[in-house]
Symmetry: D2
Subunit: 471 residues, 4 copies
C-alpha cells in the first residue's frame, strides 16, 4: 500500500473515535479548533515530497515498499544517525511516539521465547502499521492509585489496566492510561504494562495494540495550548502543541492476534522497560536542540542590548554552552557506541542515554535560570504584537525598544518572545515538567544508570587503587 | 477626606487615561474584560470593612484621619511587623506598589538638603495621596537602549526619561518606563531615575509624580493572564493577575510642585536606590508565602498517592522545607534587626533583606525542580474541570484518579492544578522571572550585599585567625 | 569543690587510662607529643582567670558554687545567648562535648517516668561532674556492622554496645563506639544508644556514664593532625586539633548508680535523639564562624592582588556573603524562637537548628568552590615559612610575592595559608566531612525537618490556596 | 642517542641545580627524603621495559630512533587515542608536563612567520630533548603583582618575567614563575608568556627554554606531601606527589638559539594560549580516572556496610555515575572530533575539552559531597594501620569493623582510606584546587568556550525559531 497523503491522513481520523476536550465530546477532530495545531504538525509528517525533508521522512523497506522512516529498524550506525537526524528535524512529537513499534520489535525475540504467537503478533502489527502508514501511541502509565499497594491490592481493581475476561477469540480489558501523548491523533494504541508484575498480578501483565476507534476506548485530552496562538508572540507554541490523552478502556475487546502479553507476568518488566530507551533518546535529542537554542537566545538577547562585553553575561552564556555541549557530546557518544541486539537491531548506548537524559533533566531548571538572568524583565513585560501593529502604541514601542544600529525592534521582540514562550509561559512550564518527567522521571534514569554502569570494573579499579589485592 | 469605597475607586479610574492592550485603545478599563481580575483585586484592597482584614488595612494618621495602612511610615518594630503582615495577607500587588511613597519619604531629608522645595513636594504628594486614598506606581526602569553607552550617548536621546524643556511653571519630560506593575490601575505615576547619573546626564536626573491621566501619558499593557480563568483549573492565576505597563511620556508637563528632582544629578542614585529595599522586602515576603505553599503542596501531592514513606520523596520535601525555613528566618531577622533613619523611620535590615532575596532568587528554579519531581506527569496532563463536569468523561476521571480512602478526587485535582498554575503554566513562568528580576535582578542584590556587609569586621577576624597582628 | 586549675586538669589525666595511637600504647598522654595540641586547648578552657574570657567560662550554680558554664542549663533567652557566645568564642571542641550532660538533663523527666532511679542517676552524675569540674564525651555511634540487619541480627552480637550480664550491683557491657571526639582527654564517657530499639533488641537499649579509666575501656585515637604544626603555615590546625576516639568496652562493669537505661527499649530513641540538637547547634555556631571567615578571606585575597573591582570576584564574594548571612540569621532565629521543656529548660528552636545545619552541610562543598576560585593556584603552591626565613629563598619570595603598597607579603602568605589550611589540607578535609557528618549526616537533619515542620498548617494553607474547602 | 635508563635519569639530576625546600638548600635531590616519591614516579616513566606499559611509553620517531611517546606529535585519531592512553595510565604528572614541547610545536608555524629563527629554535630544542630523553616543565604563570595594572606598570618591573638586557649572543631575563609543576625534577624549563601583551609591554613578550641548572635559576619547592607516607593509610598520596616550583630567574642569560620570542608582543597571546589545550586535556583525562574511582569507591563503601539497597545511597551513586559518564563521553568526543593544524598535527577538539574541563571543575566540589555522604564519619575517624598492626588495638579494630561475610576488614579500611586520601586530606585538598585551577581556572575555560562555540550557527537557529527571516 502506498504512503498516505496529508489529506488521506486527515480522512483516516474520521473513524468514530470517542474524544473529549474542554467538556465537549468532539465528533470530528479534523474540523475542531482545538486540534488544528496538532493536526497541522501530524499532517506535515506525511509531506513526503517536501524538497528538504521529504527524503529523510521515507525509506525503502526490506520488502521494497516505501514507508515512513519512523518504522525503519536501525541496522548500522548510519541508520541510527539518520534516525537521530529524523528525530531532530523532520518529525513531530505526534509521529515520534510511533517509535513504540521499534520498542516492540526490540523485545520480540524475548517475548517469542515465552509464547511464539506474541512474537508473530508484534511482527504482524508492525508491518500492518508500516505498510498502511499508520501512527501509534505509547500507552504505558497506569493511574496506579495508592503507590504503597500493588496492582491487585488497590481499592478499585481497575486502577491498573487488567484482563477482566479471557475468551476464545480474545481478551476483554478494563482500566485507564495517563499521559498518552498524541493518543487522539494516531491510529493505534500500543499498550504496555507500566512495570514488572508479580505472580499475583498476572491479570495486569497485559500488552496489545488496538485501533483508536475500538468500541470502549475513550480519550480525554489536555494541552498547554488552549487553541491557536499568534506566532509572533508565541514563536514556539504556536506550532508545537500536541494533546496528551487520558485514555480509558471500558471493557474493550482485543482479539488474540493483537495481543502481545496476557498473563505471563515474567515478561511485564521486559515490555515496560523497552519503551524507556527510545523515549529517553527522544528526550536527549530534544535536549540538544533546546540547549543550543538557549545559547543562541542568550547570546542574542545580550548582544542586542550591547551587553556582550559584560563579564557576568559572558559567564551565564558559558554556563549555557557547557550544558549544550555536554548534551551534544553525550548524544554523539550514545550513537557512536551503539549497542546491537541478538537480532541485529542497533540502538543507542543505554548507559550513555540515561546519563545524558539525567544530566538534562536534573540541570534544566538551573540552566533556565541563566537564561532568565540574561533575558531581564522584558521577558515578562513585553507588549503583544497587536500593540505593535496598532499605529499609536506601535510607534512608541518601536521608538523605545530601539537599542542600537543593526538591531531590528521586531527581531528583538521575537527573541524575547521565544525566551518567554520556551521557558516562562504555558509551553515553558510544559518544558520544565517534560524535561524532568518524560521517559520516567529522575528516579527511572538513576535506576537505569545503577543497573547498567560497568560497576565491576569500577570497583576493581577502586580496590586496586586502594591497594587491595584481587582475592 | 474619608477612605474611598470600592465603588469610588472604580469611578476614579474613569478619568480619560490613555490605555492600550491587545492592540486596542481602551476607553473605560472598568468595564473591559481584560481588566476584571486586576480590578477585583484592587477593589478588594478598598474593603475596609472586611471583618477579618479591614482593621489591618487602615490606620489612624498623625492627623487623626484614617488612611490605608500602606501609607503608614513604620516608627517601631511593631509597625514593621504589622506592615509585613499587611504585605503577606491583606494587600494585592497593585496596592503594594504604593510603597513607593515610603521610599520617597525615606529620602526626603537627603533631597531636602539639596533643594528644600523637593522635600516639601514629596511631603505634599504623600499627604495628598494618603488623604485621598489614592494609589501610586513605582515608575523606575528606563528602556536603556545600548547598555554600553550612557543615557546621553544613545542613538535616541529619549531612551532614558529626560527633561526636554524647563519652564517657569514646570518641566516637560519625554521618554518611557518599562515593567511598571499596575500602572493602568493606580492614580499616580511616581517616577524615579533608574540609576546614578553623571554631570553630563543632568537632564536625565529627574523625579516627579503625576496623575495617570496627565496629557501625554500613554500606557501599553501586558499580563500573563489573557482574561478571566477558571479557578478550578487555575487556582492562583484566576485571582492574582495584574498588568505590567509600558509607560510613555510624550512631552508631558509636570508643574514644579510635583517635581522631586530636576537636574541635581548627585541625587539620582539616592532616589534610584530608595525603591530597592521595599521592592526586595516585598519579594522576601512573597518568598515566605510561596515557599510554604511549596512545602504544603509537595507533602499533599505525595500523601495523596501514598508515597509519604518514600525516602526520595521525603528528601525532596526536606529540601522544600529548608528553602522555606531559611527564607522565613531571614525575614524574621530583617524585621527584628531593623534599621532606623535619622528621621525615625524604621525599615528592615538592608543586608538581611538582600541576602534573603538573593537566596530566594538564586535557588527558586532548583527548588521548583523538587516540586516538579514530586508532582509527576499529572502536573501537565490532568484534564480540565469542564471534562470532570461532563458526566461521561467525568465518570472516568473520578474512577481513575481515585487513590485511596480519604483522598477526594476534586481536592487531588486542585492540588495538581495549583502546582501547575504556580510553577508550570503562564503564571508559573511569570513567577520564575519575577523571583529573579523583581527588585533588580541577581546582580543588584549581590551588589547591595557587597556594599553593606560588615566587611571590616570579617577581614579583621580573618586576619586574626591567619595570625596577622593588627598594624 | 573548687574549679580545677589547668594543672589540676593535666594531673587528673594521669589515671591509668588505656590509650592507643599510631600503634603505640601511651601511658601518660600529658607528656606525649601527639597530645600536646589537644591538651593545650583543653587546658585553656580551665583558664578561669583569663581577663577577656574567664568570666564567660564560669557561672554560679543554684547551689552558690562556681562551675564551668558548659554545665549551665539555660533557663532564659539570655542564658541561651550566653551559651552560644561561649560556644562561639570561649570553649574548645573537647570541652564542648560536655554538652552531653545537658542532653541527659533534657530527657531526665521522660526517663524518670519509666524508672525514677535513672533520673536520679542522671541528676547525680551531672552534679558530680559539674562540681568536680570534669569533662564528658558524647559516646553514641555504634559500629553497626551490616546496616540491613538489626542490632541483634548481626554476625557478631557485639557490633552494637550491649548488656552481656546483669548483676545485683550493676551491668556488664561489651561493644565499641566510633567517632568519639575528645574521648581520650575527658573524664567521663557518657554512653547513649545510637538509635531507637525494638523489643528484641532490649539488651542494646543501654545508657550510662563511666570514668575513662574504668577497667575494660580502651581508646584508639585518630586525628587529622599528626603532631605539632607550624602556625605560620598552618594557622588553624596548629591550634585546633582534637583526637577522635574508637572506644572499646571490653566487658566493662557499670554500677547501677551510673546506669541511665538498661533494657527499657522504648526510651532508646529518646536518649539517642537528645544529643542531636546540641551537636547540631554546635555545628551551626561553627558554621557562622567559619562562613564569616570565608567572606573575610575571600575579600582579603581578592583585595591583596588588586582584583576587588573584578565582577566575577565580586560575584563569588557575594555568594560567600549569602551563605554566611543565611547561617547567621538562622542561628539568631533559633535562639530568639527558643523552645522550653516542661522543666523550664530552654533550648534552641529544633526546626530552625536542623534547617540551618542542613543548609550548612548541603552547601559547604559548593561554597568552598567560590573560595578556591578566589584563592587561585597559590593556595596550593605557596612555599613554606622555612623558605621565607632562609635569607636566600626568602629574598626572592618577598620580592615576587609583592603586589602593591600596603600589602605585607607575610600577611598575604598567612591569608593564603589559612585558606589552604581551612579548606584544602588535612584540616580542610576534616572540615568537609565534619560539616556534612557531625550531628548525624544529611539524612538525620532531613528526617528531623520532616518530623518537626508545622506540616498541618502548610497543608491547610496549600489546600485553601487550591480552593479546597475544609472538610 | 638511546633512551635513558632510570639510573641515567637520576644521574642527570646531579647537575648543580639550585633547589630549596623547607628552608634548606638541597645539593643532591636524588638522595634527599623529600624527593623520594616524586623521583620514584619520574624514574618509572623511564622504565621502557615494563612488560605491560613499556611499549606504550616509547615510539619510533620519523628519524627511526626511539623516544618517549610524550614527544610523539599526533598525526591521526589513533595517535591521539594512544596519547590519551599514555596520559591515563603510563605517565606521571612530572613527565606529562613535557607536553609543553607539543604546545611549542603547535605554534611553530605561526611563530616562524614572524621570525623564522624562532621556529628553527623550537624545532631544534624539541629534537634535542626528544633525542636525549629529557623532560621539560611548563613555565608560564608570572606572579603578576597588582592585577589592575599591566606588566610594565607594576611597583617592581620584575613582577612579570622580562628581558633586562639584549646582547649579541642572547638575552638576559629576570623575574619569577609560579606553580611550576615538577620544575625541580625535569631538565628544561620551557618559559612562555603568561598572557597577551601590548606594545608597551614588549620586554615582557619573551619565551625560551633553558636547562634547570643554568646560572641564575633557583627553585623553591612546595608539595602537599611532607615526605614518605604509609601506603595503607595514604593509598594515593604515598605514590603520587610531585613538587610545585616557585622558579626564580635572577638575571639569567639565554643564548639566541634557545629563544622563541623576544619582544614581538603580537605573538605573546599565541604562545600563552598554546599550553592551555594540553593542560586541560590532561585535566579531562585525570577527571575520567578520578570520577570512575569515585563511583567504585562510593559503591564499595556502600556495599561493604550493607547499604546497597538504600534509595538515598543509590541516588548518590547515580549522581557519581552521571559525573563520570558525562566526563568520559566528553573526552571520547574530543578525541573523535579532533582538529588538525595546517602542518597536520592532530589535537583534541578545543571546545569539547574546554566544556568537559569546565564541567569537571565546576562540579567537582559538589560531586565529592556525594562521596562524603556515602563515606560517613569513618572517613575521618578510622585509626591508622599502625594501630591495626598492634595486636592489642588491632584485635578490637578487626572485631568491630567487621560488617558481614565476604567483607575483609583491611579492604574496608583501605577503601575508607582512599576516600579520605583523595578527597579529605592534604592530597584531597590539592585535588580540589587542582581540579579548579589547573589549566587556568574556571574563567579561562569559560573564556575559551565563549570564543570557540559555533555561535553564528546557534544564533541563526535561534533567530529562525523566533521567526526572524534572514536579512
Amino acid at each position: 500500500m502506498p504512503l498516505k497523503t496529508p489529506e488521506q491522513y486527515m480522512e483516516s481520523l474520521r473513524d468514530g473515535r470517542v474524544i473529549y476536550w474542554e467538556g465537549e465530546r468532539i465528533d470530528d477532530i479534523t474540523t475542531h479548533p482545538l486540534f488544528q495545531v496538532p493536526l497541522a504538525l501530524m499532517r506535515s509528517d506525511y509531506d513526503y515530497h517536501d524538497p528538504e525533508l521529504g527524503a529523510l521522512r521515507r525509506y525503502t523497506t526490506e520488502d521494497g515498499s516505501e514507508a515512513h522512516r519512523v518504522f525503519q529498524i536501525p541496522r548500522s550506525e548510519a541508520d541510527l544517525n539518520t534516525r537521530v537526524e529524523l528525530m531532530r528535524g523532520a518529525m513531530s512529537i505526534g509521529t515520534a511516539v510511533s517509535s513504540v513499534f521499534m520498542a516492540l520489535m526490540s523485545v520480540k525475540d524475548d517475548v517469542g521465547r515465552v509464547n511464539p504467537m506474541y512474537a508473530k503478533n508484534i511482527e504482524r502489527i508492525y508491518q500492518y502499521c508500516r505498510d498502511n502508514d499508520l501512527r501509534g501511541a505509547e500507552v504505558i502509565t497506569d493511574p496506579k492509585g495508592d503507590r504503597r499497594r500493588r496492582a491487585n491490592e488497590q481499592d478499585d481493581p481497575d486502577l491498573y489496566v487488567r484482563i477482566v475476561e479471557r475468551r476464545a477469540d480474545g481478551i476483554v480489558v478494563r482500566g485507564a492510561k495517563l499521559h498518552i501523548t498524541a493518543a487522539s491523533v494516531v491510529h493505534e494504541l500500543v499498550v504496555m504494562p507500566t512495570k514488572a508484575m508479580k505472580e499475583i498480578e498476572a491479570d495486569y501483565a497485559v500488552s496489545f495494540s488496538i485501533p483508536v476507534n475500538t468500541p470502549g476506548v475513550k480519550i480525554i485530552n489536555r494541552s498547554f495550548a488552549p487553541a491557536e496562538l499568534n506566532s509572533f508572540d508565541y514563536p514556539a507554541s504556536a506550532h508545537h502543541s500536541c494533546p496528551e490523552g487520558f485514555v480509558v478502556f471500558d471493557d474493550v475487546f482485543v482479539p488474540w492476534d493483537r495481543v502481545f502479553l496476557a498473563g505471563e507476568m515474567q515478561l511485564a518488566g521486559t515490555l515496560a522497560r523497552s519503551l524507556g530507551l527510545w523515549e529517553r533518546t527522544g528526550g536527549v535529542v530534544e535536549s540538544v536542540k533546546i540547549s543550543e537554542l538557549f545559547v543562541g537566545l542568550g547570546q542574542l538577547v545580550t548582544e542586542m542590548q550591547g551587553k556582550d562585553h559584560d563579564p557576568i553575561a559572558q559567564n551565564s552564556i558559558a554556563e549555557l554552552i557547557t550544558y549544550a555541549e555536554m548534551l551534544r557530546m553525550g548524544l554523539d557518544y550514545a550513537c557512536r557506541h551503539y549497542e546491537t541486539s541478538h537480532s541485529g537491531m542497533v540502538y543507542p548506548n543505554v548507559l550513555a542515554i540515561n546519563a545524558a537524559k539525567y544530566y538534562y533533566a536534573a540541570n534544566f531548571h538551573q540552566t533556565v535560570r541563566y537564561l532568565h538572568d540574561l533575558g531581564g524583565g522584558l521577558t515578562m513585560t513585553l507588549p503583544l504584537e497587536a500593540d505593535l501593529r496598532n499605529p499609536e502604541s506601535g510607534h512608541y514601542m518601536r521608538k523605545y525598544l530601539h537599542t542600537k544600529a543593526g538591531v531590528d525592534v521586531e527581531a528583538r521582540m521575537r527573541v524575547h518572545n521565544l525566551i518567554r514562550d520556551l521557558t516562562a509561559d504555558a509551553y515553558g512550564g510544559w518544558q520544565f515538567v517534560v524535561a524532568l518527567q518524560a521517559g520516567g522521571g529522575l528516579a527511572a534514569q538513576r535506576s537505569m544508570m545503577n543497573r547498567t554502569y560497568p560497576m565491576a570494573r569500577a570497583k576493581a579499579r577502586a580496590l586496586a587503587a586502594a591497594g587491595v589485592k584481587p582475592a
